[in-house]
Structure formats: structure tokens, C-alpha cells
Symmetry: C2
Subunit: 694 residues, 2 copies
């Protein structure tokens, strides 16, 4: 014999109330709500959900959202699409910060009742009972209303009950006796009753009443989705910017001589004129002396060698000090101010590691890894050793103080006007640390941008973006043929990555001079510039790129010969063959054409030659779509037919149309989808085409 459980439903409902409505598949939602998605200020967040319940009742649903710092929910409606059985809506992200959103749904009892009344009345059924039910709903709404609304609702309820005194029959005579004989007098009575019911139904279905009841009737069976989701709303420059990386010490005019911030400042006007938005500086702090690296990363270092800026700290200070050879903190602040006057921002490098001469080494030895003999461990990746660098132990017993000190480094520079940090090797520090410090800083400074310099496996790179990094380096430098570019850009722009991972397409870095650039000559530099700047709203170059510098440390290496990491390199920025004009043009196009500022509006189109890549940037309204054709082969002319997306461009199937190359100003007449393109790298590597519209 089986013993029946005596557990009552209430026991289950004590901890969590039963959901009256089922809400699921809310989008966007990352990893079951564990991580925030990202948007830019001024954008709308489109939200979708599956919402349903048992039976045939009509439902209603809304988005609940609040900007960071607010405690009251705001609401935006969700509307139902029958075709995909899905609810969707959107709300405007009008200011930066970390916003919260979720979904609420409820039974639309008045709408359900109204729809049933209409159907039954149309079918000629008796609706006396329905009218009384409706009156009760209207009265319920009236009790929540005040003033005119209350009066109107009370009056409507009386009308539904037939008690409004407008000559209607008293409600006791609403139902004609079903067995009444069909004599003349009775018939008149029945006709009057019918007319009255029809009038009451019309009153019940009045749109004004619907609006009032929707406003005041409390949602029935209101159910909240069980997760509050987050969206990080960043300022526009977090998502749209052209970056220029430079070593300030190389910005002088005397060959080999270490420049100061005052000298570097003189270059800012030129960089602004090229159209860049962000000037990123490798670490500007005092450089360690112990095991300092010499030219080309040699272990021998001469007395005048400046060392790598990433070996941070010496007797002049650590992460909050300025290398004396660059000048003073005030000089740096002037540099930042001058950049600001020119419409640019300065990004600093945030490299959490220390040279053996860093003040923390003596002040806080407990923050480092200690060997059994009591000495501090240098960095290593066995059997490789990096004796000029001490890594920090982020899980040391004193980690609380260490994390706070790391946070205080950021607040120190924030106080000096810096709002962008390019974070060195974040994948070698704990994800929990980044999640904490980014939230900690952005709580007070939501305008601060964190740019993750992680070149590692895809999953840890994605995880850094999920825990809060605003932007991320990408594999772009290693994606050089058409298939690779198509696959990678498709992943970045059409998968879940688009929700949280903002790639910044650097064409080179002090660590990465790709073989494509080494061997492709000046056209290779033009190709990669054109791709980076027109495929993605965030891109950057490391100085020297505009001079097509391309000599590797040795064959097969991606390191530069005489890398600026270890030497001062003074250049002639106007040397023959420079790309300044091309850069200025492309940066101007990026500012003038909003389609180039989008992150998910890229579509690839067919070509008949694997060397030629063809894609569009779509504005969604045919006003400013751009078509980009690029010859990826820097060595030889390539020709092909490209297939233009006529329907997407709003063009007829067979009419001729004119496209204008925004790079050269030249115009071409195309007809139909397939059109001929020939690109000779000696002349041009690509077109950025605009359809000329009447």
C-alpha cells in the first residue's frame, strides 16, 4: 500500500510563489543571465521573450528597466507577433552606466473578457452575465482611479449593469422569461431589451473604456521573469574610434634621442589631422634597471638604452609615477589636455607587473610569488625566463590590499583626465579580479573604457569581454585571406559575440608585424588599412604603419627589427611612400558615413575571384549603404564579377545605376547584379562605393 504524501501545495509556494505566466527565452541574455550585454548610449535595446500560459486568455507583457542608480522600474510595452509566437519591444538607452532589465507578464482579463463578449454578442448569444462580469472589472479599475477617470469608470460600470438611468430597463428585467408567450406586448419588451443590450455591448467595447481600464486595472497574475539582466551602456567612443598607438619617447626630432611629453605634444595636431580619435601610449612610468633589456630584446643593455616601458618601476616610482625622461606629471596632464583640445583622448597602458626595482617589491613583498629561499620569483613560461619582470600574486594572503592598490592606480590616472585604459595581458590575471575592478571603477566612472590586450584561445578572450572589458583585441591581424575574413567577421557580427565582444581591429602592434605586411609592400598596408577601417567601427594603427615599416627581427618572426619596445626610434613622418593621405581620407569617410560606425551591419556578397572580397555596410534604409570591394592580393591586379545585393539596396533587377568611389571620386555605371571590377594594387587596392541616387 502506498502512503500518500501529505505535503500541501502551500508548502511549495512558501519559498517562491507559483508563476501564473511562463516567461522564457528572454533575449538578449548571456549565459543564463550571468553576464551583461553591451550597447552604446543613444541606442535602443531590443528585447524579446516567449510568454504564454494555459488556456485561451489574452496576455500582456512589458519590459521593466532602470538605469543604474535608479530604484524605480520604468516600463516599455512588449507586443505579440503571432507568426513566431514571440513578444518584442525596445527601450532607449539614454545615458551611460549599467542598466537592469527584465520582463513582466500578466493575464489581460479585460481584453479577454472584451473579446469573448464581442464574439458571443456577434453570435447572438445571451451576454447578460458577461456584461455584469465586465461591470465588476470596470468597478475594480474604478477603485484604483481618481478624479475624472474614476467618475468615467463608475459611469461605465453602471452603463454595463444597465443602471445608468438613460432610460434603460432596470436590471431585474434584463433577462426576458424564456417561456414568455410571443404575444405583441412581450415582443415589444424583447425588442427593447435587445436594443438595450446592443447599446450596453457598444459601451463595453468603446475604445475609451479600454484605454481607461488598461490604465487603472491592476495586472492580474502579474509574473516577473526570474532573472534581472544587465546591459552596460557605454559612451560612443567605446564603440566607434580610430586609435593611434605611439611611444612618446620616439616623438622627438633628433635621431636616437629620448623625447619628452612636451616634444610629443607637438605631434598631436598632425595625428588629429589624420582623423584619429584616441592616442594610446605604452606605459609612461619609470623603467626598471635590473635585467633591463637592450636593443632587440637582448640580455645585454647599454648605459643609454631606455629599456622596455612594460618593465615598470624604479627608484622614481611605480604605476603612479611618470618616467623622468618623459617629464613630469604636469607635462603629462598638459599632453592630455592638448589632445582634448584637438578632439582626441589619451589611452594609457595598464600593465600589472613590476620590475625588480618597483617600490611595491620592497613595500609589499607579500604581493609577489616567493621562492622557498625567500626571494621573489620572476616571470617564466618554462623553460623561458623573464628576469626583468616580477608577476603579482593576485591570490596572495594580502590580496585585498593588492587589489585595492591596483584599483587606486586607475583612480589616480582617472583623476588626471584619463578615461581609457589598454590593459596589458589581462588573461594572465584572474577573471574575478577584472570583474571586480571594472565594476568597481565604472560604478563611479561609467565613462571609463577598458581595452583587453589578450591574444589567447577564443574562450578566455570571450570570457574577458563577458566579465566587463569594453573592447578587445582580435585575431584580425592573422586573418588575411577572404575565407578567413568572412568567417571571422561573420562570427563577430552575427553570433552571440555581437552582444558583448567589441573587437578593435589593430592592423599592427609593437608585437605583431604580420608576414602579409612584411612581404606585400605598400599595397599590403593599404589593403589592411582599408579592411580594418571599413569592416569595423573600432580600428587602430601602431605608429610606423603609415610609413610601411616592415623589417622583421628575422625571417619567420612577427617582431620588428630594432623594435621600439627597446629603442627610441625617431622617424620622418612625411617620408616618401607614406600613407597619410589615405589614412586621412578613410578616417574622414568613417566620420561622415554612419554606416561605417555600425557593428553588425556588415554583409558579404559573392565575387568570382577568391582574391577579391566584396561586402556592404547597410544603414537599413537605403540612404547611405556602402559597397566595399578589396583586392586582397597586394602583388597582382585581380579582376572579377561581383554580385551586388540589388534588392537590399532597393534597386531594380535590371536598371542601370551609378556608383561613386568615395576614395577616388570616380564613377562607374553598373547594371543588374553582376558587375565587373578590376583592381591593380599599383593604382588602387579597393573601392568604397556609394550608389548615386537621384
Amino acid at each position: 500500500m502506498v502512503k500518500a504524501s501529505r505535503r500541501r501545495p502551500a508548502a511549495a509556494s512558501a519559498s517562491a510563489p507559483f508563476a501564473r505566466v511562463f516567461i522564457e527565452a528572454v533575449s538578449p541574455e548571456l549565459d543564463g543571465g550571468r553576464h551583461p550585454v553591451k550597447r552604446l548610449v543613444g541606442e535602443e535595446l531590443a528585447v524579446g521573450a516567449d510568454v504564454f500560459k494555459d488556456g485561451h486568455d489574452l496576455l500582456a507583457a512589458r519590459i521593466c528597466y532602470r538605469p543604474s542608480g535608479e530604484t524605480e522600474w520604468r516600463y516599455a510595452p512588449l507586443t505579440y507577433d503571432f507568426n513566431d509566437d514571440r513578444w518584442s519591444g525596445a527601450f532607449l538607452l539614454h545615458r551611460i552606466g549599467r542598466w537592469t532589465y527584465t520582463i513582466e507578464a500578466w493575464t489581460d482579463v479585460f481584453g479577454t473578457w472584451r473579446s469573448g463578449l464581442e464574439k458571443k454578442h456577434t453570435a447572438g448569444l445571451d451576454v447578460a452575465s458577461e456584461l455584469l462580469e465586465g461591470a465588476m472589472l470596470v468597478e475594480q479599475a474604478a477603485r484604483c482611479a481618481k478624479g475624472d477617470a474614476r467618475v468615467a469608470l463608475d459611469r461605465a460600470a453602471a452603463r454595463l449593469r444597465g443602471e445608468d438611468g438613460d432610460g434603460a430597463l432596470p436590471s431585474s428585467s434584463v433577462d426576458p422569461p424564456s417561456d414568455a408567450p410571443a404575444v405583441r406586448g412581450a415582443r415589444t419588451n424583447v425588442d427593447a431589451h435587445r436594443a438595450d443590450v446592443t447599446a450596453r455591448v457598444a459601451a463595453a467595447l468603446a475604445p475609451e473604456l479600454l484605454g481607461l481600464v488598461e490604465q487603472y486595472l491592476p495586472p492580474h497574475g502579474l509574473t516577473r521573469y526570474d532573472h534581472e539582466l544587465e546591459v552596460i551602456v557605454d559612451r560612443e567612443r567605446a564603440g566607434v574610434a580610430a586609435w593611434y598607438e605611439m611611444f612618446p619617447r620616439s616623438q622627438g626630432t633628433r635621431p636616437g634621442q629620448h623625447a619628452t611629453f612636451r616634444e610629443a605634444e607637438r605631434r598631436l595636431e598632425e595625428i588629429a589631422a589624420l582623423g584619429f580619435d584616441v592616442v594610446y601610449l605604452p606605459p609612461i612610468h619609470p623603467i626598471g634597471r635590473t635585467h633591463r633589456k637592450g636593443p632587440n630584446n637582448s640580455l645585454q643593455c647599454g648605459p643609454d638604452d631606455p629599456g622596455s616601458p612594460w618593465a615598470i618601476g624604479n627608484e622614481h616610482g611605480g604605476h603612479t609615477a611618470v618616467e623622468p625622461a618623459l617629464g613630469t606629471l604636469t607635462d603629462f596632464e598638459d599632453f592630455v589636455a592638448r589632445a582634448g583640445e584637438l578632439g582626441m583622448e589619451v589611452a594609457l597602458d595598464y600593465a600589472l607587473q613590476c620590475s625588480p626595482d618597483h617600490p611595491w617589491v620592497t613595500e609589499h613583498p607579500a604581493w609577489f610569488f616567493i621562492r622557498p629561499d625567500g626571494t621573489i620569483k620572476y616571470a617564466e613560461n618554462p623553460p623561458k625566463k623573464y628576469e626583468d619582470i616580477y608577476p603579482l600574486d593576485f591570490w596572495c594572503d594580502d590580496f585585498d590590499a593588492l587589489w585595492t592598490a591596483c584599483r587606486d592606480v586607475l583612480t589616480f590616472w582617472i583623476a588626471r583626465g584619463v578615461r581609457i585604459f589598454r590593459v596589458d595581458n589581462p588573461h594572465t590575471k584572474p577573471l574575478a579580479f577584472w570583474e571586480w575592478i571594472i565594476a568597481e571603477v565604472q560604478r563611479e566612472h561609467p565613462d571609463v573604457i577598458f581595452f583587453a590586450e589578450a591574444f589567447t584561445r577564443p574562450k578566455p578572450m570571450k570570457a574577458l569581454a563577458k566579465v566587463g572589458f569594453t573592447q578587445s583585441y582580435t585575431y584580425f591581424t592573422w586573418r588575411n585571406d577572404g575565407a578567413e575574413l568572412r568567417e571571422y567577421l561573420t562570427e563577430l557580427t552575427t553570433t552571440e559575440m555581437a552582444e558583448y565582444f567589441r573587437g578593435n581591429f589593430f592592423v599592427n602592434t609593437p608585437d605583431i608585424l604580420h608576414e602579409y605586411l612584411q612581404t606585400g609592400g605598400r599595397p599590403a598596408f593599404q589593403v589592411r588599412l582599408l579592411l580594418a577601417a571599413t569592416m569595423n567601427p573600432l580600428y587602430g594603427i601602431y605608429s610606423g604603419y603609415e610609413l610601411c615599416e616592415r623589417e622583421p627581427l628575422h625571417a619567420g618572426s612577427e617582431e620588428y627589427l630594432h623594435s621600439e619596445k627597446y629603442e627610441v626610434r625617431v622617424r620622418d613622418w612625411h617620408a616618401p611612400g607614406n600613407l597619410n593621405a589615405e589614412i586621412a581620407t578613410i578616417n574622414r569617410l568613417r566620420r561622415e558615413h554612419r554606416v561605417l560606425q555600425g557593428r553588425t551591419n556588415l554583409t558579404f556578397h559573392p565575387t568570382e575571384n577568391a582574391h577579391v572580397l566584396f561586402y556592404s555596410r547597410d544603414d537599413g534604409a537605403h540612404r547611405d549603404d556602402l559597397l566595399v570591394v578589396v583586392n586582397l592580393d597586394p602583388h597582382r591586379p585581380q579582376e572579377t564579377m561581383v554580385t551586388a545585393p540589388l534588392a537590399a539596396l532597393g534597386l531594380g533587377a535590371d536598371a542601370p545605376f551609378v556608383v561613386e568611389d568615395l576614395l577616388s571620386g570616380e564613377r562607374y555605371t553598373w547594371r543588374g547584379p553582376r558587375n565587373y571590377v578590376r583592381l591593380d594594387p599599383a593604382v588602387r587596392v579597393g573601392h568604397v562605393l556609394r550608389v548615386v541616387r537621384a
Copy 2:
């Protein structure tokens, strides 16, 4: 000036400790862990996860799992696959119930140290400090060990320190002075030192030591995934069964006369001989009298009309009573017992609605919807009315008592030997109710099976499966052409649905006589039987199917003429043209061939004629793969070339091979992938082919 926040990291960690390891994308996981997945007892649950942390340390990870009722975790290892940067493992589900599982990961400090030691020693670097670090780890393990293990670990630690007294140098002389002159005596000393270090390294790398340390060293930075996930483990019949639906009142021998359970019992032997596993009965309870429906759902009901069994309840009782015309509760129990003797189970209908004569109507009027005039509302879908049915108000003020009463109905029948409930129209009752009642019942009776009869939109059907229904009706009856079948089966077997949605392919029901059957003659019945039984491990027929009953209420209707829902229908089960032999054969094949019991081992293969469907059921080891070819056209012979998956079958590209049709015993010699098939529905509608292996 910006004010730096004084919030310290510890404040953040007070509520949730910082995760040392990042664990995400755990599979299987439904909707962020909100719903359980499903498996059958005896299966393994394969679990995967992304696991990583900062830097280059080696990691280790494991599955933590526990069967329902156990409080201690059990563990199964996860292993790392470099190719997809993913961890995977599995554990055996050895008993039914609701199991919990999650993931733990930690830093493999000993493995990391061991790997670094090996690399450094191989590179000829000094490892004295590393050996001391290793000794400290081994000592830490020793402190957690006892007996022999502790002795062995202590000894190993001493060996690593060079303090084991085996003639090694005292540790103070381990490091030879780096400025020692290279005289003969010193060199000997250095050689001896080298030999000693090599021996200590060998001891450190010994596999025995690795095993001991892994066993006893506490996991470092142990991190638990933030969700505990669930898997419902069902008994085999929940996932593999052939169902037979019949109205017991029609199982007599005298035309038009209401049969009893005793008479119906006589048919069980025949049904068992046909190879069915489950006999499902429409409601067996007393049938309401008020507004009872007559033949063909008419509103006029004669005095001898039996009424619809779904109008439950009259003066003889409600959901826990047996219709007197069927016999007594004891007769029912005997019927169940007899089915059990024959290796079958009886499934009852669980239809939560009441006729106006149900005892609950007078005992608990508060459980129903009340109209303003105090009467109880009948069911309706405006403007349609169902006056013979009162729906229950699952959110009435007294819902606690109502839900408990509904639960008690189930426990009543469970106590009488019933373990399978086919639930009528669950989509018209709250999902929260089903989630509660299924968990409530299965807590004490994990062998109880709930089968959802919901024919509604895809999302609510999926939701019912997610909240706990063991099996679900499907759209199979409406998927008749090849493209529809391919698409639907692909969704059921290859998407997330495979994790939680077990479709039961009924070929007909008392409500669904598809046009394909109405117009396709006997071959149509053969086709649909063959498809249902060989595509899916769960299928069923409603009695009359074997006689190819196909007369609709009217053209365009899926209702049967003289539907058994409203009339007693006594049949000659051996009438000419019956499908008994075909059914017995196919049910035998389903029992003999385990591949036909799988749920996700279906693969479609090409044919060159849209009327011919070709698929395989794969056992993963080429032992018992079956190939099924079906002519979906019941009217005409169809011929085509079918493309066999030779590689998947383990066959060479061009050698001849013999296939045997398990339905007819005939053999065919095929060669290469493309082979000819002709199926004449007058002779046969399909083949179930087995490759004859030497």
C-alpha cells in the same frame, strides 16, 4: 577632482567568494539551469564544460553528482580536449529519480609544478628551488594522508629535499658556489651534485608519487559551478514502448452492448500477442448525465447513449470511482493485474474537468468558475459552448485544497497499481500546477510516467515537457510528406528538444483521423505504422487502426464517423484486411533490435524520388544498423535510387553487399552507395533492411 572609492575587495567577496576558475557553457543545461534534462536508467549522462583560468597553470575538473535522496556528492573525472578547448566526462545513471549534477574545477598545482620541473631540468636549468617547492606540496599531501600513504609521502618529500640519507649531499651543499674555481676537487663535487639532482628529479616525476599526491593534496582554488543542474532518470518504458489505446466498453462481443472490465480483460492476451507494452484507457469514471452528448457529438442524447468518458462524474462518484457499467474497482484491479501478467502496463487518462454531476460541484463549488448570478461556468471557447463540462479554477482562493485533491486522485490510482497517466489537455491547466504535481508525485513514486496530450503551439508543448512531463504527443499525425518528416524528426532528434522532449508517435487518436488515412486505403495505414514504429522508440495506435477504419464524420473533418467517444463500437478484430500480422512483426523487430529503441540515432539519407523516404537507425558500432526505405505514396508504385551511407555502415566504397528485409525475409545484393529500390504499395510499402555480415 575625483573621489576614490574606499570600497575594498573584501566587501565584494563577503556575499560570494571570488571564483578562482571560470566554469561556463556546461552541457547539458536547459534555460540556464531552470529545467531538468531527461535520460533513461542505465544510460550515461555525458557532461561537458568550458573551464579555464588566467595564466599557464594546469587545471583539473570533475563532475559532482548525486542520485535523488543522497546528500553526499559522488565524483566523475572530466578530461580536457585541446582541439575544442573543452572538458568532458560522463557518469552512469544506475537508478531512477531526479539526480543533481554540477562541475568543480581547480588548479592542478602539483601537475603544474611537475611539468615545469621537467621542462627546466631538460633545459639544464637549476631546479634546486623547484625541488624544495615540490617537497612542500608533497608534505601538504602527507598531512592529509594516513598510514602507508603518509609514510610514502613523507619519504618522498625528504627525497625531494635531499634529506633521505641515501648518501646524498646535505642540502646545505646543494648549490655549488658559482664562483668556485674549476679545480679538480670542485668539479667532482659538482658532478656528484648533478647526479644527485637528476635522481631527485626522477623521484619527483615518479608516477607513483603523482598518484599519491593527486589522491591526498586538497584541490587548490576549488571552484564550483554556480548552478546545480538536474536530470530526471526514468525507467526504460518511459522512453521505449508501443502503446495500444482502447475503450474498455467496446471490448465486448455483442454489437452495441456496453462491455465490462471482465470482458475487456479477455482481449488483453491478443494485444500482448501483437507486441504492445502499454494499454491506455480513456477515462473509466462515472459519466455525467447533464447535457450528455449523443452519437456524433450531438446535443440530443438517447436514454441508452453511454456519453463521453471525458465528462467525468455523476452520482456514483468522480475521479476516484469506476463507471458501474464497467464493473467495480476490484474488476479494474484484476484487469491491471492481468495486463501485468502479460508483460503490459495499463495507462489511465487523467482529465481534470468535471461534468455538472461530479461530486466536487456540490462539495467544492469554490473550485469552479462562478458567474455573477452564482451559477458555475461551463467550458467555452467563444462562441463555442461545452455545457457538459465544468472546467476547474486552478487559481481559485481554495487552490491549495484543489491541487491537493488532484494529487490525491493520482495517489489513489497509484495505490491500485497504475504507474502511467496520459494527461488530457494539460495546456489548459497552469504549467506551475504540472511542475508542482509531477515533482510531488515522483518524489515518492519516481516510476510514474506522465504523458502530455497537448496539441498546441510548439512553445507551450515544449514548456510542458520542460516542467516535467515524461512523454508528449507530437505533430507526427500531421507530418506526412518526406520534407515534413525530415524536418520534424531532425528537430526532435538533433536539437535541444532531444534533451527533454520525448515524443510518442500516435498514428491516430479518437480525435485525429488524418486525411492521409481517410484517402490512402490500407497502404496508408501500413506506411504510417512503419514510420511511427521505426522512426521513434515510442509509438501508439488507437484501436480500429488495425482494421483500417477510416470513415470521417464528414469530408474535411478529422473526427471519426460514429466516434467511439460517444458510442460503444464492437468490432471483429480479425476482419479481412486487418494489420495484425504487420503489427506483430514490427513490434517484434522493435524488441529484437536495440537500434529501434534509440531516440537520437536516426539519420536521413538521399533518395531521388520525393515519395521515397530513406533513413538509418545507427547503433554506433556497425553491429545492428538498420536501413529503412518507405514509399510515402499509398496509391502508386514508386522507384528510385537510394544512397546508402557506406562509410557509416563500415562498408567499402565499391564492394557488393547483401541486405535482408526483416519484414519479408527477402535478400537483395547492393553495390556501392547508389542502389535501386521499387516499392509497390499493393505488395509492400517499405523495407527494413539489415546488412548481412559475414
